[in-house]
């Protein structure tokens, strides 16, 4: 019997009482960690019962009236349900289908730059927008897209639109959100791919070049297959987050005139729940989102384990 097997056997034979006796210091250390996760992660999960109540803060969870699925029925029969679910899906799908290929493409292009100092400078500059805070980004968008902002001025000059405050026109919101996301994240999100490309074998590349393969052929037949595992696994994870859109940016940019395209599930929950005080109803909407997210994540994780041979859990 080797050491590992022996250790396993000893551990199995150990009762909890004995383990606590031997490792009491570890148990002591575990107490604050357990308390933290119970209070800030598991108590909110238990709090999801509010979704089935007409919750009144004054009466608490035990005093509020149970209403069954009424909150869910109310959400799905309101026109808001379609709007916020569609917007959540569209906004995150745009990031997936346009933003994700762009970061791969950017990594491939930057890999073709041979001047070391130029490459390094471009990379450093491209990370910069990522380190600007959300509030400042939103402040810039509001300023630049206002009816006298520099972006509005440019588009009017080009004759592409009438002078207006672009953030009050629902037609523009998806584009504004996508472009600002890409401006902020393109360089930063390409980092993993740049790192993966540098790990692709140089020898293979040289051999192909000697055999007469041109640049494009080498990118297609050597570089891309080399970073495929990275592309696939990140893609699957992103699919798992298809119904997750952060509210940080949208909460600062949207206004009632563009709710039709800008309102997503998380902003709706925040508005109706925290601002509107409808705790039971907004918990139900949030719970629907949590359940969908978890299901997507588990499916993605399963697919990732099956096809990319790596998984989260």
């Amino acid at each position: 019997m080797n050491e590992v097997q022996m250790e396993k056997k000893i551990r199995k034979g150990m009762t909890w009482r004995k383990d606590i006796h031997v490792n009491w210091r570890l148990y002591l250390l575990a107490i604050p960690i357990i308390v933290y996760f119970v209070v800030f992660n598991y108590a909110p999960m238990a709090g999801l019962v509010m979704a089935f109540q007409d919750f009144k803060p004054t009466k608490g969870i035990f005093g509020s009236q149970w209403v069954g699925l009424q909150n869910f029925v109310r959400f799905f029969s309101s026109p808001n349900a379609f709007t916020v679910i569609r917007n959540t899906f569209v906004i995150s799908a745009l990031g997936l289908f346009i933003g994700y290929p762009m970061s791969i493409g950017f990594a491939l292009l930057i890999n073709e730059i041979r001047l070391k100092w130029f490459k390094k400078t471009v990379q450093t500059i491209s990370y910069m927008p990522y380190f600007i805070t959300t509030i400042v980004i939103c402040g810039l968008i509001i300023d630049f897209c206002s009816s006298s902002g520099i972006i509005t001025n440019l588009l009017v000059k080009l004759g592409w639109m009438e002078r207006q405050n672009m953030l009050t026109n629902p037609d523009y919101f998806w584009a504004i959100n996508l472009i600002s996301d890409e401006w902020q994240g393109l360089g930063y999100s390409s980092i993993v791919f740049i790192a993966a490309i540098t790990n692709v074998s140089g020898e293979l590349n040289e051999a192909a070049a000697i055999d007469g393969a041109n640049r494009l052929q080498r990118v297609w037949h050597i570089t891309l297959p080399g970073i495929k595992p990275m592309i696939v696994s990140m893609l699957i994870l992103k699919c798992g987050m298809l119904m997750t859109v952060g509210f940080d940016k949208i909460l600062n940019l949207y206004n009632p005139s563009i709710y039709s395209t800008a309102d997503v599930i998380s902003t709706y929950v925040q508005r109706v729940g925290i601002n509107g005080g409808e705790f039971g109803y907004s918990t139900a909407v949030g719970m629907f989102n949590s359940v969908v997210n978890t299901a997507l994540l588990l499916i993605a994780n399963h697919l990732s384990a099956k096809y990319a041979e790596q998984s989260l859990f």
């Binding site: 800030f40 238990a46 709090g47 491209s126 959300t134 810039l140 300023d143 520099i150």
Partner: protein
């Protein structure tokens, strides 16, 4: 390796270098515009329509003088620095201890604890129930609401756990023989070996805390004196309310065009610290993004 200099290669290079140059320009220009606007003559600024490549009129530092002596901005700065520092310490300690516990081979609680923490990556109670818990604990409108909720994170803990597991066991074996307890082993022997992993999570915590405004906006509704910088900036940049800045100014200066200047100065003041710091942390980005890809 000698590159073949074909015509198509040359054309590609011209376009590629051109594109990269243009891209860098697009990344830089908005902040450059704001920087130039912040030192421009506010009267000319009101009339200007395009992108500023250089300051308009005579350079003025009035806006900065106003912003940097403003009570709200100073309060916000001090609060944010405090929150960044305090949450980093709490987060690092908690993450180290939790990761350490999950990497102990002969610890019976390891399995259940690991599952309990992992599960929080998959499912969460969501915004409203979390808000009710913080409210129920009486943390709203106190500094605690900024320090404790969300400070520990399962992803960082799992990262820390695998960092512990990759360390050779020999270090602690010898310490154990000397009779060292778990805390001594953790902080005297293992922590110095994990500097790189700790640096990554500290960096991400600093960025996240510097950026954070939402929790403060729902938890600190009645206590402005505890607000982080971003929330004061939000008032000026998003709600377009520079009037609060102008109250301690004389009437002539408080006119609307100064408000405009203040906006640009606030943007610079709230942005520069991270922009100056990030180039020095670049080596941690790769690990960070891989983690971010997981975390979303």
């Amino acid at each position: 390796m000698v590159e073949k200099r074909s015509v198509s290669r040359v054309i590609f290079n011209i376009f590629n270098y051109g594109f990269m140059f243009l891209f860098s320009f697009i990344c830089l220009i908005p902040i450059w515009h704001v920087a130039m606007a912040s030192i421009s003559d506010p009267r000319l600024l009101m009339a200007s329509k395009g992108v500023l490549l250089k300051p308009l009129g005579e350079i003025t530092w009035d806006g900065y003088a106003m912003v940097l002596t403003n009570k709200s901005i100073i309060t916000g700065y001090v609060n944010t620095l405090f929150y960044v520092l305090a949450t980093t310490i709490i987060m690092a300690l908690g993450t180290l201890v939790a990761g350490f516990l999950l990497s102990r081979p002969n610890f019976k609680l390891k399995g259940p604890l690991g599952i309990g923490i992992m599960f929080t990556m998959m499912f969460s109670g969501g915004l409203i129930p979390s808000y009710m818990v913080v409210r129920g604990l009486g943390m709203t409108n106190t500094r605690w609401a900024m320090l404790i909720p969300g400070v520990l994170n399962a992803f960082y803990i799992m990262m820390m756990k695998s960092a512990f597991e990759q360390l050779p066991g020999s270090y602690e074996e010898s310490a154990k023989l000397d009779g060292a307890g778990p805390l001594t082993i953790l902080f005297r022997i293992l922590v110095p070996l994990l500097k790189a992993t700790i640096a990554v999570i500290v960096m991400f915590n600093v960025i996240q805390q510097w950026n954070s405004w939402f929790n403060a906006s729902i938890y600190l509704t009645k206590t402005r004196e505890y607000w982080p910088l971003q929330l004061f900036m939000r008032e000026i940049l998003i709600n377009n309310d520079a009037s609060k800045m102008a109250t301690n100014l004389d009437a002539e200066k408080a006119s609307s065009f100064v408000g405009n200047l203040v906006k640009y100065c606030v943007t610079m003041v709230g942005t520069l610290p991270l922009l100056c710091a990030y180039p020095f942390a670049q080596k941690y980005f790769v690990t960070g993004v891989q983690m971010g890809g997981v975390k979303g």
